[in-house]
Amino acid sequence: MGGIAVTTTINGDEVDFVCHAEETLLDVLRDRLGLTGAKEGCGTGDCGACSVIMDGRVVCSCLVLGAEAEGKKIGTVEGMASGDKLHPLQTKFLEHAALQCGVCTPGFLIAAKALLDRNPDPSEEEIRYGLAGNLCRCTGYDKIVRAVQDAAKVMKGA
């Protein structure tokens, strides 16, 4: 059964792949491109662990077909650091112990980056509603919100 040839951009690099019509972008990232940062927690858009940025918007990659990635600009957690310098969100998540098992962390980092790109100075409530699409079962969210608040301060140069 022939696949669909797709050309897209991931973390700034041009990438070609072939996928089945029903294959999701998440399956492509993980099983064909070896980018296992995005995780499948549910496959139905309810947990956010597969979040990536596509053309500037945070989306669940499990609810996007691989074929739809044609010509898009995709950002995954693997692309957040620049060289060996971590993104402020990555640094603050570590400093605040905002992760325990860490399986939801890639999704949270992507969603928090999209949130801060759009709203550089969010209130606690705006952070909590902005991250409501990402489930975490270990932390109770407290330290995640504090890490995002701290990162926002650093990124604003305050």
Binding site: H20, E78, Q100, C101, V103, L135, G140, K143
Partner: protein, 753 residues
């Protein structure tokens, strides 16, 4: 080799600080590899066919058409897993992995395939024809004990009852705990209350579905990469079920995406191994979220009756509880744990608890964070709150008056050593949260909680690198940051900086057997083993230093990470650092290491008191948690950030359980909400910040005073929120979760009369 495990009350340099965890960067950059992130060349995709019926006899399974489908490399049924267990618990695990004669619940595995890709595997499952004879089912814990309820096992007679009952029943076992004479106690009471409570079944809710890659070779050796809370136990059990020598099965624990007890039990792992053996190719088997809900190990649904009697001055004269816990199709000890923990926080002269293990057509129950304790605490702490109210006594003071202390005979038997229930109550009384103002439709509630804690088999290797840095290999899986805490303990005992230690979780071929990371034992037992391994290494380091200085080892002491020569006659000898001793190792006897293989014992229990404010919308019954405080005793917080993380995580799970989480079964016995849309765990915008206060009452049986803290925090929330709702809108909720429809119905009933 134990060199005295007792608490010494020493001052700490590293322990108690908050460094970055050693495995953190991989986790924030997406490099960390979890169960489903691992692949082996030539691997096949494994998929499981599951029963759509709640209770059905399996008459015949025709796999012929599936086996013929192009791209299918192996198809297995229970016939491919001959019973090597000899009965008992292991047989139940085998039967649960794949149904042998009967499917006992919606989702019970009946067959499995391994194929070259997912579409082929999916098609193959559809070609397997199973001939079921559907039987009547029962999924409710109270219905299952009624006469005439459908029986899961024809030959199940209730254990723990003398004389042995004649008729079979769905009650697998009865247990009893307590002391004194409750009848007499109730006669002395001025006030008696009797209430019945129910809690629905909930799931641990870890975000990572179960996943493994298994590879079995015809020469009897095998390898498995799996997300688990205990790879040694997984190896032991999988080897037994598959008939493989334990030492020939190497199991590597991947990073684990949450467990909370749900990954202390094998589910599809033996199927992946069996498929790989049959196909002679590695098999990757990853559960879907729906499969995790239908066919892993949720906790029990419960039905608990409580009777309490007390004098006007607040002294409890008698306390009784009867606890029915659903076990799924196989007998466990879940009600027994409930019966043991029910009144554990209290100093009672007359107490009696009776537990019944009830079998139902639901998935096999597994541990979920302080298993069985939250449900018992919900019933007891709600009743205690109501009793205090009827006597007109402040709920915290009522508990302080009856709290267990050192020397109290616990309701589950033994006398307590030094314990923290009193201090957590005193601390909560003084906490600013207790005096904060409440708004409209808001209420405050509190509750206490307890969990055992235990040690168990642990071994640790500590190797001094050629450059003097330290590699620490532990066998307890790190779910919530224990590699950071164990590195701190190792650095403390060796007297070197934290950054000089690198802790890893070793696979089963590099360390001796380690028990599961459960029962909050991870940090407790591995820190003890790490301390002894470090002390053994120090012994070797002192011998090597003595050799280097050519003096007697008795004149060498280890201080601040260095070997020092004692006594004037050695005055001129400069201390030797770890780096220097390591550099000379080739000449002084070879690699330097310290090992420790122990049964860590003397685990100290961990008590907590929680305070919760809620706001209830009287027109819709919606409840919102507006403030939450956890006060818990940690003995010694090795890495305070991760101790706080355990307090906050446990509370959040408790809040979800209290308000929204439940398994919903239809009349057809099928699970209606196997997904994160309708199995509603708390989202970020549901919760306030969760404030924590760590108390440190040292555990005398641990060198640093450490207690296990991982589980207690889930015990109080159910009752704390129920009591807060009652304080806010004046209705006593007796059914968990307190979903809006249930609260609204209770409010309507209250308005009606």
């Amino acid at each position: 080799m134990t060199l005295g495990a007792d608490f010494t009350g020493q001052k700490f340099k590293s322990v108690g600080t908050r460094p970055l965890r050693p495995d953190g960067v991989d986790k924030v950059t997406g490099r960390a590899r979890y169960g489903a992130d691992f692949n082996m060349p030539g691997q096949l995709v494994g998929r499981v066919l599951r029963s759509p019926h709640a209770h059905a006899k399996i008459k015949k399974i025709d796999t012929s058409r599936a086996e013929k489908l192009k791209g299918v490399k192996a198809v297995i049924t229970a016939a491919d897993l001959p019973d090597l267990t000899g009965g008992g618990d292991m047989f139940d695990i085998l039967d649960n992995c794949m149904a042998r004669k009967k499917a006992f619940y919606d989702g019970h595995a009946v067959a499995a395939v391994a194929a070259i890709d997912a579409p082929t595997a999916k098609k193959a499952l559809k070609l397997i024809k199973v001939d079921y004879e559907v039987l009547p089912h029962v999924t409710d814990v109270d219905e299952a004990v009624k006469p005439g309820a459908p029986l899961l096992h024809k030959h199940m007679f209730t254990g723990g009852v003398e004389p042995k009952p004649k008729k079979p029943s769905n009650i697998a076992n009865r247990c009893q705990y307590g002391h004194g004479d409750t009848e007499a106690g109730f006669k002395e009471a001025d006030v008696i209350i009797e209430r019945s409570y129910r809690t629905e079944q909930t799931h641990q809710g870890y975000i990572e579905p179960h996943a493994c890659v298994a590879s079995v070779s015809p020469d009897g050796t095998a390898e498995m990469w799996v997300c688990t809370q205990g790879h040694f136990v997984y190896r032991q059990q999988c080897a037994e079920l598959l008939g493989i020598d334990v030492s020939k099965l190497r199991v590597t624990s991947s990073e684990i995406g949450g467990g909370f007890g749900g990954k202390t039990h094998i589910w599809a792992e033996p199927l992946a191994l069996a498929l790989s053996r049959k196909a002679n190719r590695p098999v990757k088997l990853v559960m879907s979220r729906e499969e995790v809900f239908r066919a892993s190990g949720p906790t029990s649904a419960t039905s608990v009756d409580v009777k309490l009697g007390a004098k006007k001055d607040g002294t409890i004269t008698a306390a009784e509880a009867t606890l029915r816990y659903s076990n799924g199709p196989y007998a466990g000890m879940w009600a027994e744990l409930g019966a043991m923990t029910s009144f554990a926080c209290y100093d009672l002269t007359n107490v009696k608890t009776v537990g019944y293990e009830v079998l139902v057509n639901r998935p096999k129950v597994a541990a979920y964070r302080a298993p069985s304790a939250p449900m018992a605490a919900f019933a007891i702490e709600s009743a205690m709150d109501e009793l205090a109210q009827q006597i007109g006594m402040d709920p915290v003071k009522f508990r302080i008056k009856n709290a267990a202390k050192e020397g109290t005979k616990s309701s589950y038997g033994p006398v307590y050593g030094p314990i923290g229930i009193g201090p957590t109550l005193e601390a909560s009384l003084k906490h600013p949260h207790m005096k904060a103002k409440l708004g409209k439709n808001q209420g405050r509630g509190m509750a206490c909680g307890f969990w055992f804690n235990f040690g168990g088999q642990t071994c640790t290797d500590l190797n001094i690198g050629v450059d003097g840095t330290v590699a620490l290999a532990v066998g307890t899986v790190d779910v919530g940051g224990s590699r950071a805490s164990l590195s701190l303990v190792c650095a403390e005992e060796l007297g070197i900086p934290y950054e000089q230690v690198k802790a890893v979780v070793a696979d089963t071929s590099t360390l001796g057997h380690n028990d599961m990371t459960d029962g909050s034992r991870g940090t407790f037992s591995s820190s003890m083993a790490t301390i002894f391994a470090a002390r053994n290494a120090i012994k070797v380091l002192r011998e090597r230093a003595a050799q280097m200085w050519d003096i007697s080892v008795d004149d060498v002491v280890w201080e601040d990470g260095q070997a020092k020569a004692k006594g004037q006659k050695h005055g001129n000898l400069a201390p030797l650092s770890l780096k220097e001793i390591a550099a000379a190792a080739p000449n002084t006897g070879g690699p330097i290491a310290g090992h420790s293989e122990i049964v860590a014992d003397g685990a100290g229990v961990s008590f907590a008191t929680h305070i919760c404010d809620v706001e209830v919308d009287p027109e819709t019954g919606a409840t919102r948690v507006v403030r939450y405080t956890v006060v818990q005793d940690a003995g010694k917080a090795v890495h305070p950030s991760y101790v706080e993380g355990q307090y906050q995580g446990g509370a959040a799970q408790g809040i979800g359980w209290a308000l929204n989480e439940e398994y919903i079964y239809g009349k057809d016995g099928r699970l209606q909400n196997p997904g994160f849309l309708d199995y509603r765990i708390p989202v970020c915008s549901d919760l306030p910040m969760i404030d924590t206060q760590i108390l440190e009452i040292p555990n005398p049986k641990h060198p640093y005073g450490v207690r296990g803290v991982g589980e207690t925090s889930i015990v109080p929330p159910l009752a704390a929120i129920a009591n807060a709702v009652s304080n806010a809108v004046g209705v006593r909720m007796t059914h968990i979760p307190m979903s809006p429809p249930r609260i609204l119905a209770a409010l309507e009933k209250k308005k009606a009369h």
